[in-house]
Amino acid sequence: MQAIVLGLIGGSIYALIAAGITLVYKASRVLNFAQAEVGTLSLYATWWVTVKHHQPWIVGALASIGVAVAIGLLFERVIIRPMLSASRVTVAVATIGLFSLMVAIELALFAGTIYILPPPIAHGGVKIAGVFVSSSQWLALGVVAVVAVGLALFLRFTDFGLAVQASADDPVAAQLMGTPRGRISAFTWGMSGALSAVAVLLIEPTVGVLAPGAFAGLFIGGLTAALVGGLTSLPGAFVGGLLVGIAEAEVKAHITINAIPSFQTTAMLVIVLAVLLLRPQGLLGRRA
């Protein structure tokens, strides 16, 4: 039970990364390797605003989201848009470049010092099912729920949201129907930046410190969740996130096999492998 509660919290944050990966994949058939790292670099903006300039946490959070959206938009405009007809592997290499850039900037500017952020909500918390869930963790659950519902409503009930979905289904037909391809692409990458920033903001209290590459596990968890969900389904990404979070917590709590070192990593990989080979379209995805 304890594992399930903890797993739901961790998994909901994976779901945000998974949603970003899924959004970009749907729109451009590319895996964004920088999905977690954009938010990691942006988190230094939160530190700058809250610790250095003593502003409230929410201001710092908005600063981080702003920086991440700006990175996403800039990357799309300068790097991605000229690559419309490039092979998808090449575009993926460009996102590896973005990942390296984020890490390189972190190392150049912030290496050697430990940065500690204040938690979003310092006190409070409720015990459920014998598990203490802190206010920050409640905040995480709430934010993820709001983001999930908001994103779903936006994509289903606004003209632009429908255009995004149509463009993902069939870019050529969508363009012939008058959807603005450039703006859709910009939206996708900007939104992926925002999701990255929010995910990192929410998981930071669990990790405790801010350091280059501190959130690498977030990307692996998010990617696993996206794959379990089927890579093309946003609801799938959220369900996948929760499942992966719970599975990871259960494995951590119950199974240790000494003969196989790093068993948890292996278990996670085996899950992905099984999903890919037995049901490549994931739980909620459609066959390409």
Binding site: I79, A86, L101, P261, L276
Partner: protein, 616 residues
């Protein structure tokens, strides 16, 4: 060895036309001489010039180049992604380390063992590629790399904990550099041989269009796995070279995910499929930073920006900057040239494989065949016979199931009921490429060629099933492979000349006009030395005058070349003019058959084409 005398003759045969082979051999020999002489001379004449760590950097740079060539084969030629290539390098390094340090084998045997182990591991990694593609395959290979790193190699047998494996080498620095350079040369030569034989053509065609590959007799499964095995062998060699350079490896260094990603970056930045550019990219990537010591942190920021801008502005890689080869202009779409020359002018090869004698008067018999797509009965109990030496027409309105029946005969769709006999033998359980190798050639409505390959390469590709040499012979360009490829090249030149396409020979087929593509396609079909030629709307995309000329060419096929033709055509005059017998399909069912003049008067046929209301 009964083959001994024959192969001696072949060696002499090779020497006869010296202009093709010797420059290559000469270049390779020169390079080998340089690679041996330079490091040894340097180490003796100027012993202080290169320090220990310089040798180390050079060794690792060369190993990285081999690894990049290995991934270039898989990604650039065969189009299969691997994001776990470091796992293959690790297999080679650990195997060689165990062989040399624990079993006390010499380094050469250790490396060989590493090559074999990595090739075997790569075969297993390649199995999912038969089912998955794109990102899904990429993820599986990432997982392979991680599992190697965190589970297999961390295990006590391989690593003694995290202590890792030692790789002794027993030769001095300069000699080891010589060894590494010679191994790079060996890998280069093998890679060149792959590109110049049916292996490379099969890899590229499978990458571009699997149905087309099968129609030329290429076993897609086999060549996908072969690409993984050969690439894995090279990666194992690279890993062993890497390991014996740094003398010690463990599960954390150096074969981690970032090495796998680096290799992908090197291939893409260099240019997928561009060997020299990829090697240069690998050498620059490794040697530049390691000879400029104390690189500032911001240099890495610049490097990342440079990487993004390079792939964004040069998505085809920097190879284009290195070579002076100009892109050929877009194909001359001159439709006046759209005429197929008389087919007997084409150098049609003989079919070498012994096929069973005809057990019936009919070359092809389709009996009661049913094909369903979900609830739709695309072919509904259709039967037809194609007697040897005749032209048989298959007509019917759009959606009648003609192309589906073609696909059923050529093996691209499975039949749900019925029998298909070729030369009296049931073939419905054979794979598409197996049927092609029996002598069934087919065209496609969308032109069944590898459109990214040149006209010349497509003619060479078409002769795939005629090549008698094996994979090892091809990799090493042994005499039989070299001689066969020369024959193929000669025949290709003759064919291109017969078509008058000398100007277009090195242009990608994609750039040709529709009519020109169709002509090349039909000529390529004949290059497979078929007995049965199945043409799916050959006049589509041809200018009207050229379509008229097609009738004479179809009769060429039957009368001058003795082939049997099954023809789908919407050009009814052409069908009535050329066919010996016609079948009419509508909504998956045969509604009529007979001599052309009877068919043209058949009320059911008129109804099917024009709708019953018109005739009523």
């Amino acid at each position: 060895m009964a083959d001994g005398a024959g192969s001696l003759q072949r060696v002499q045969g090779v020497a006869a036309p010296p202009h093709r082979i010797s420059p290559r051999v000469g270049n390779a020999a020169t390079a080998a001489l340089l690679f041996v002489a330079l490091p040894l001379l340097t180490s003796h004449a100027m012993p202080r010039l290169l320090q220990q760590h310089d040798y180390l950097n050079l060794d690792v740079g060369v190993a990285l180049a081999v690894a990049a060539v290995s991934l270039n084969l898989l990604l650039g030629y065969a189009g299969q992604i691997s994001l776990g290539h470091a796992g293959l390098l690790a297999s080679g390094a650990f195997a060689s380390g165990i062989a040399t340090s624990r079993w006390h084998l010499p380094m050469a045997l250790g490396m060989l063992f590493g090559v074999v182990v990595a090739a075997a591991v790569s075969f297993v990694v390649g199995l999912p590629a038969l089912r998955l593609r794109g990102l899904y395959l990429a993820i599986v290979t990432v997982i392979f790399g991680l599992v190697m790193q965190y589970s297999v190699l961390e295990g006590s047998f391989f690593s003694s904990g995290s202590a890792g494996v030692t790789l002794p080498r027993g030769i001095d620095n300069a000699t080891y550099l010589v060894v590494c350079l010679l191994l790079l040369l060996l890998v280069w030569v093998i890679d060149v041989n792959i590109v110049r034989t049916r292996l490379g053509r099969a890899f590229r065609t499978v990458r571009e269009n699997e149905a087309v590959a099968q129609s030329f007799g290429i076993n897609v499964t086999r060549y996908k796995l072969l690409a993984f095995v050969v690439s894995g062998a090279m990666a194992g060699l690279a890993g062993a070279m890497f390991g014996h350079a740094i003398l010690h490896v463990n599960n954390e260094k150096p074969f981690d995910l970032s090495l796998s990603l680096t290799l992908v970056i090197l291939v893409i930045v260099g240019g997928a499929g561009r060997r020299l550019a990829v090697i240069i990219a690998a050498l620059i990537f490794w040697l530049l930073p390691s000879f400029i010591s104390g690189l500032h942190a911001w240099a890495y920021v610049l490097g990342a920006v440079g990487l993004m801008l390079t792939v964004s502005r040069h998505p085809e890689g920097i190879a284009d900057l290195l070579s002076h080869q100009r892109r050929p202009a877009v194909g001359a779409g001159d439709d006046d040239d759209d005429e197929l020359p008389a087919l007997p002018q084409l150098p049609v090869p003989d079919r070498p494989v012994t096929v069973d004698a005809l057990r019936s008067d009919n070359l092809l018999e389709v009996e009661d065949v049913v094909v369903r797509f979900g609830g739709l009965q695309a072919v509904d109990h259709a039967s037809l016979v194609v007697p040897a030496g005749k032209i048989i027409g298959l007509i019917g309105p759009n959606g009648a199931g003609k192309s589906t029946l073609f696909n059923a005969v050529s093996g691209l769709v499975r039949i749900d009921a019925g029998r298909i006999r070729y030369r009296g033998r049931e073939i419905q359980s054979l794979r598409s490429d197996e049927r092609a190798r029996l002598g069934i050639a087919r065209s496609f409505q969308q032109v069944g060629l590898a459109k990214d390959l040149s006209v010349r390469d497509n003619f060479l590709l078409a002769q795939h099933q005629l090549a008698p040499y094996g994979d090892i012979e091809a990799l090493l360009m042994l005499p039989r492979a070299a001689r066969t490829e020369r024959e193929f090249a000669t025949r290709t030149d003759q064919a291109i000349e017969a078509l008058g396409f000398q100007q277009l020979a090195d242009m990608p087929v994609r750039n040709l006009s529709g009519g020109q593509q169709r002509i090349v396609e039909i000529a390529c079909l004949l290059m497979t030395a078929p007995d049965l030629v199945m043409l799916d709307e050959p006049s589509a995309g041809m200018a009207p005058a050229a379509a008229e000329n097609l009738a004479a060419r179809l009769r060429d096929l039957r009368d001058a070349l003795g082939r049997t033709v099954l023809l789908i055509e919407h050009n009814v005059p052409l069908v009535l003019d050329t066919c010996d017998y016609v079948y009419v399909l509508d909504a998956g069912r045969l509604i009529a058959q007979g001599e052309p003049r009877d068919i043209s008067a058949d009320q059911k046929v008129i109804d099917a084409y024009f709708g019953a209301a018109v005739s009523a």
